[in-house]
Symmetry: C2
Subunit: 572 residues, 2 copies
């Protein structure tokens, strides 16, 4: 048997020649080549992803600084398949030294390492958008930022050096702080100039396509307004030719979103308080794996095991820490870094056995039932609205919280978007961010289709969403949303998450069922009343003839019968 | 209106405090937290992914070095939910200095930057497996490697320092080269010791679960043998208790794979020649985007534009390069690094307009029709086999090639796996690697369901795979397979790829249809023949009586009638 191949036209490698080919791959190169993983599959999605990343960052920054957010999104067509996206906020601004890395370095940010709910979590998004712009047009990401009334504004242009995943600064100058929309905002924004003395504007030109429909920027911003009722949003789309606008090819719903108006349009805020700022928490011991525990003991600043357990984890009191140590057969005063691998395993098992309170939940900032209802009322024309915020729960040691909302339109209320014989529309959100794509892969869709809506009086094809003139909203808030991909479009199928979504939707369903029942009874009574009212004059005429009453009496009888009918009606 | 929020229990951030929280995120930390993206969602999948990554690397290394691969996979249960996976190959070995980075640094490798078909492409897989083992057990990745008969073998243990994405060497010693399976291989492997004087063995302990069924390691290795008929594979599973084995929960097929035998089992190779080593190519100009073109002109070693175009791209002759320059209005002798941004755009447009040959295709190494048939015959018991290798095609500038195979079993051939009333089984492969999960998201599934199988005589529910006792195989070979996620389980939906898959399957379908037609005619003739044969003795008896023939004549008539019948049968 010939086990060595014949010498081929191509040179055969040896361990040594193979070694020479080995190279480090920068994370920028990796995601540039795999940019579909980040939501830059095609020009249409690239535009949406860019707006999404920029708006997410703007909202996170405003909320962290305790500022009621006012954000403008300006999309301007610059060529047949080119657009410039500019997003401006009234947030705290960014100190100059951080600008290059925040906008032109992948995997850089403040949100990855902390356990606190925020829209961004990876430190990839906005730099990836800039990198995509750079790839398709050669242009740079432009940033204008000012940190306060007394600070100078900075204008910078940055490129990603993809070979090294490092920012390259092309322009860096002090300048005036005059973002376009502050003047243009029709809301009289200039009335309170203090709020607008700071902020950030990011602007990227890229190969893109502006489309309408369910997977469009329009729809994204609209849903954004639903779950961020405290957001004041200005939006403008300037096209070279308005005839080029169409729905996305993969948008099979056939429902066009409202055409963008010329010039700025504003979505006003519905509530005047920003959400509570969530608190950062420490990891819960039951969510920590063995290797992570080793790393934490190696890195801890605590001087002994007991205080390492107490300080570095949530829900471990001194007493619990001592009990865990004794259960593991370890000395509470041992130096954390000196504990042997085998002992850490004993410690890990002792932690697993320990009874602990669930993780604290002030790391979450749910939207709240009132605000969800307000958001739905603002954006969705319907007759019945309800919302449910569940108590926090835990998956893999991570606290999370599910909220659901429902808007139901009476038939014939003229809402083209909600037809009685269409499937209900499902709006999915994670940490207040709308999820538009990949609905089929998302646990929210799966849970919503799994609810038995027939029990609440709605037709439902097997394994599908119910049919009816309604919108279902589901929001997952968590310190770490388990997305199925870096482009953050679908939530992974954890049973704990699915269960909470199901419970929230069942509660909404019961309320809808009560409303539908009441409405059905009202309609029934109305029908009866109309029917009887028809006969009252004839009845009165008959009585008049039988009893030989004067005309005046007849009128009196009619009026009395009406009163009786009204009273009965109320009791039906 | 109060635009500033009330001071909350949590401190509000400013640009300065926000800046202090900014940090670089190492790619190891990123994928550790997002390990489901790499195929480490759960213990069952972790085991499969680890075997897959190790076997892929072993096969790539052997083929690059021109060695017929012999690989052993040893899975040993070490605790209730712990396993040690060891994979050994007879490849070229790895030089000592490269071992730590290859096995304990994410995004490091030789395959990412070159355009040549290989199983690995990202430089993540095996280090991620080690990192998962480290996280769940605290253990290190152990490597044993020897580069040839005269070299010393090295034994190393490495950890990933996840904070820095750098390897940490825990053990490093010279030792004897005695991987377990060389002695154990029942094939008399020791007969040719030269081939076994080198190779690599990687061993990782991890939290895992061994299951059976369609998403199991067993099935993976079996499919691996189908598309790598030149692979000699040894496999052993040692369990603490054999009762624990069950099918994966998400394996809804209900068809158990064969139980693993005690001790080593071997899948012998079916062909004794390794595939042709594909050649590395340069990027095709039509697949290069503007930003990439800028980068290439900046990095080129060529001294002028003309030779940069000629040397750094495929299919650009000197004449074509000159024509592109003149079309773009650029000087062919210009220094590439001195060309301005606007000029590069003109160049980019000129390149788009240029008529160029399609990319070269010797960068691909298809399996080949013969080898696919041999692989199917080896692993799938059926009656009809066929295979099609399409000519190479191009998507986004990347050459690719589609192959398809089909195995059809006569009903009642006793193959439990292929029932007549089940959907056909679809085996998906990319660069000779079986894809087991995420079938629904894969363009191969979509294309195979889109073929009109009814035209070939098979029942087919709308939008689904055909129904019948058969296995469909599709292989995509490319210099860059566009996977939908880092875990490389599904191919993205490029129209060019879908089209090629459809054509390949249609050809298989036509051949199957011809076979089924012939078989149907044969069955029909057989039935007729049996029917007539039944009457021949009666006919002869009648003739004998009518013509008053002797017994001997009757026998002669029977025999003559049989002969006539046989002859007619052949013509039916």
């Amino acid at each position: 048997m010939i086990r060595r191949m014949r010498k081929q036209k191509n040179s055969v490698e040896t361990a040594e020649t193979l070694a020479r080919g080995q190279r480090e791959i920068s994370v920028s190169e990796f995601f540039l080549k795999n940019r579909h993983l980040l939501g830059f599959d095609n020009p249409r999605k690239a535009l949406l992803t860019t707006v999404k990343e920029a708006v997410d960052n703007a909202l996170d920054a405003c909320e962290e600084a305790g500022i009621l957010p006012e954000v403008s999104v300006d999309i301007a067509q610059t060529g047949e398949s080119r657009f410039r996206v500019s997003v401006t906020d009234n947030g705290p601004g960014i100190v100059k030294s951080q600008i290059p890395r925040i906008f032109a370095k992948l995997l850089y940010g403040s949100k990855f390492h902390r356990l606190r709910m925020s829209r961004g979590q990876q430190g990839i998004g906005i730099s990836a958008a800039g990198m995509y712009g750079q790839l398709t047009t050669g242009g740079a990401t432009q940033i204008l930022s000012r940190t306060g009334a007394k600070a100078r504004a900075h204008s910078m242009s940055v490129h990603v050096d993809t070979r090294r995943n490092q920012p390259e600064v092309l322009k860096d100058e002090e300048c005036d702080w005059l973002p376009q929309f502050f003047a243009a905002a029709p809301d009289g924004a200039a009335a309170e100039p203090a709020t607008y003395s700071h902020g950030t504007c990011v602007s990227i030109e890229m190969e893109a396509a502006y489309v309408r429909g369910r997977l469009s920027v329009d729809e994204y911003l609209r849903q954004c307004a639903v779950v961020n009722p405290h957001l004041q949003l200005h939006y403008r789309v300037s096209l070279l030719s308005r005839e080029t606008v169409k729905a996305a090819e993969d948008d099979d719903t056939g429902i066009p979103a409202p055409a963008p108006e010329e010039g700025w349009t504003t979505r006003h805020r519905a509530v005047n308080a920003a959400p509570d700022l969530p608190r950062e928490i420490k990891p819960h011991p039951h969510g920590v794996e063995l290797g992570m525990l080793m790393q934490m003991l190696k890195d801890t600043k605590a001087r002994n095991l007991r205080s390492a357990l107490h300080q570095d984890f949530s829900r471990v009191s001194n007493a619990v820490a001592l009990q865990i140590c004794s259960d593991a057969g370890l000395e509470p005063n041992a130096r954390p870094s000196r504990i042997a691998t085998g002992e850490i395993e004993a410690l890990y098992n002792a932690i697993s056995r320990a009874k602990l309170m669930r993780p604290p939940t002030d790391c979450l900032s749910p939207i709240g039932e009132e605000a969800i209802e307000a958001g739905l009322r603002k954006e969705i024309g319907a007759d019945f609205y309800t919302a449910v915020t569940r108590a926090p729960a835990v998956y893999r040691g991570n606290p999370f919280q599910i909220e659901a909302g429902l808007a139901y339109a009476r038939q014939g209320s003229g809402n083209k978007e909600m037809a009685a014989d269409d499937s209900a529309r499902l709006m999915r959100f994670a940490n207040r961010v709308p999820l538009l794509s990949m609905a089929g892969a998302c646990s929210i869709t799966k849970a919503a289709s799994g609810v038995n809506w027939k029990a609440y009086g709605l037709p439902q094809p097997r394994g599908s969403l119910p049919v009816g003139p309604m919108v279902i909203l589901v929001h997952m808030a968590s310190v770490w949303v388990p997305f199925t991909s870096e482009s953050k479009e679908a939530v992974a199928h954890y049973p704990e998450i699915m269960r909470e979504i199901t419970f929230a939707l069942q509660e909404c369903g019961r309320r809808l069922s009560a409303y539908l029942g009441k409405r059905r009874r009202q309609d029934e009574a109305e029908r009866k009343r109309n029917y009887m009212e028809l006969y009252i004059p004839h009845l009165a005429l008959g009585l008049k003839e039988v009893l030989d009453l004067p005309d005046r009496e007849e009128e009196k009888i009619v009026s009395q019968l009406r009163t009786i009918l009204d009273r009965t009606h109320l009791q039906i």
